[in-house]
């Protein structure tokens, strides 16, 4: 009985040693996150069109293009987001022709689309 208890305690100790965080894993995860966040993107990941260079250069200062590519907004909503980013996220306010070029590009290439929340049907190509 006592031997069994000791053995059990040994197993528990071993288990807790396994559970103790591998400090190296924490470091590797932080570095992996930074690596993913810092992964180079090419401008061509965005739809071709007038204003693409400006959009790519200006927007990717703070976030990568996934945020653009997943979006499907009307011109008015895109325009509203420019103010929101300036007010809430410290973006340099966009004004005048430059703002128009950016919003035009986004509205033209990332406008509303008809898709269900899960995209197309999984059984169709």
């Amino acid at each position: 009985m006592r031997g069994a208890l000791l053995a059990a305690a040994g197993v528990l100790l071993a288990a807790s040693a396994v559970l103790a965080q591998d400090p190296d894993l924490a470091r590797r995860q932080a570095e992996a996150a930074a690596a993913i966040a810092g992964r180079a993107e090419e401008e061509t990941v965005l739809a071709e069109g007038e204003g693409r260079s400006e959009v790519f250069a200006y927007c990717t200062v703070c976030h990568n293009t996934a945020l653009i590519r997943r979006s499907a907004f009307t011109r008015d909503r895109w325009d509203e987001l420019m103010d929101w980013m300036a007010e809430k996220h410290g973006m340099n306010p966009l004004e005048g022709e430059f703002r128009q070029a950016i919003v035009d590009y986004l509205a033209t290439h990332y406008g509303p689309r008809q898709r269900g929340p899960r995209g197309g049907n999984p059984f169709l190509d």
Binding site: L19, A20, Q21, P23, L25, A26, R27, R28, Q29, A30, E31, A32, A33, A34, A35, I36, A37, G38, R39, A40, E41, E42, E43, T44, S53, E54, F56, A57, T60, V61, C62, H63, N64, A66, L67, R70, S71, A72, F73, T74, D76, R77, E80, L81, W84, E87, K88, H89, G90, M91, N92, F98, A101, P112, P117, R118, G119, N121, P122, F123
Partner: protein
């Protein structure tokens, strides 16, 4: 854009060679971009890739290809194959069928970041948190102090992104297009926040909290996010300062070495890399508070319309929702399959789930499933049940939970708001028999 430096030089090259100068040339500004933002600009344009050389093989996302179409997936040591919502900030959703565990393991825990992931700390025991504001005695505690001075509690707590379900909104709302997978129910160990607040001598004037963490905004200017809540939620017995997840130190991606756990309310309140909580007489004003952030209309607005959110109210207890974990969306089953043994999880913010119903005929008829009680308050609940199928062919499993107040998931996402909070429509998983 006033691009200078000759037409033969692209903006890429300009930034790659000298980002600071390029920034000055391109935008007529100097010193706007600093530190990480400057590096990020260089990085985005192909200049440098931080950590590229130290990066062990296998840490790159699987879907390096920049193709359109299907979802991309995260590949990271210690994490399952999560759906990549975005790289910067890094966000990844757990596919519903990976949420089958009653206690969410670290690898299947969704990733939500507003800013950058801080570097790992060398000695977690020396990590300090501060309690100040409307208290008699502002205090500073190390993690060691926390464990020594306060009672440790262990609870299974569901925690969900405030934007979970956002992809259900039409027209599209801004933000990560989460399905139902920004949800977790891990087993957390920590100390009750209320015990710590009482130790600091919370004053009667303390009506709200403000939370602070170590992650910085992607622009490198200020904190990534800093939200707060009503004091009543801070005093709830299930609101804890967590120091362990599933019996192990909290993983780096999930807020090591300590984070708040505010179960049932938007996950942004569960501050990761937690450093400070202030008690306040007025609502907190940090990044992520006010306007349309984590707020929903009190008087419903026209979907897609412009609104600054001034009349909105903070989203607090999350709405009822369930996931189907036994069958993946798009599962194909053998010819002749005539019954489905279904299972999943259900939860309802501060409430409990009283029922889960399933339909395999597009909502014409519904069948009640069995719902287990939660193992403790604020834990999600297992549901199971069997449904019959009349034939081979294409079916959709529709699944719908009802909370303890009798409110069920609506047929479509309700109460549209610009940033897309609180969407909990009935979910549909497609299956093909034969």
């Amino acid at each position: 854009m006033t691009q200078q430096g000759g037409p033969e030089r692209s903006v890429h090259e300009l930034y790659r060679d000298d980002p600071e100068r390029a920034d000055a040339l391109a935008w007529g500004r100097r010193g706007v971009l600093k530190g990480a933002a400057l590096a990020a600009m260089g990085t985005a344009l192909g200049g440098t890739i931080p950590f590229a050389r130290q990066m062990p093989a296998g840490l790159l996302p699987a879907a390096l290809a920049q193709g359109q179409g299907g979802p991309q997936f995260l590949e990271m040591e210690g994490k399952a194959r999560l759906i990549l919502q975005g790289e910067r900030p890094l966000n990844a959703e757990t596919p519903e069928h990976l949420l089958d565990d009653d206690v969410t393991p670290a690898d299947k825990f969704f990733i939500r970041n507003n800013g950058s992931v801080p570097e790992a700390v060398a000695d977690p025991r020396t990590w300090k948190i501060t309690i100040d504001g409307e208290v008699n005695t502002p205090i500073e505690l190390t993690l060691g102090d926390l464990e020594r001075r306060f009672e440790l509690v262990t609870r299974r707590l569901q925690m969900e992104c405030g934007g979970n379900g956002r992809s259900g909104f039409s027209p599209q709302a801004a933000g990560n297009q989460w399905g139902n997978g920004a949800i977790s129910c891990a087993e957390w160990t920590g100390v009750r926040l209320r015990d710590v607040l009482r130790a600091a001598g919370a004053k009667d004037s303390a009506k709200f909290t403000g939370h602070h963490g170590a992650d910085s905004h992607l622009s490198a200017q200020g904190p990534a996010i800093s939200r707060g809540m009503r004091i009543e939620k801070a005093m709830d017995e299930d609101t804890i300062i967590a120091i362990r997840m599933n019996g192990a130190p909290i993983p780096q991606m999930h807020g090591a070495p300590t984070r708040l756990m505010v179960p049932g309310w938007p996950g942004s309140l569960s501050q990761k890399w937690f450093t400070r909580i202030e008690l306040r007489a007025s609502p907190h004003s940090g990044r992520g508070m006010g306007g349309t952030s984590y707020r929903v209309p009190v008087r419903p607005i026209v979907p897609g319309s412009r609104n600054n959110g001034a009349d909105f109210a903070d989203l607090e207890s999350m709405p009822v929702r369930c996931v189907l974990t036994s069958h993946a969306h798009g599962a194909r089953l053998p010819t002749g399959t005539r019954a489905l043994d279904l299972r999943g999880q259900a939860w309802a913010g501060d409430l409990t789930v009283s029922a889960v119903h399933v339909s395999v005929d597009f909502g014409a008829t519904w069948q009640a499933m069995t719902v287990n009680p939660p193992p403790n308050r604020h834990a999600w609940q297992r549901w199971t049940g069997r449904v019959a199928l009349p034939s081979d062919g294409y079916f959709e499993v529709w699944y719908r939970a009802t909370d303890s107040n009798g409110r069920m998931q609506p047929h479509v996402a309700a109460n549209w708001n610009p940033q897309g909070y609180g969407a909990n429509p009935i979910s549909r998983a497609a299956i093909l028999v034969g």
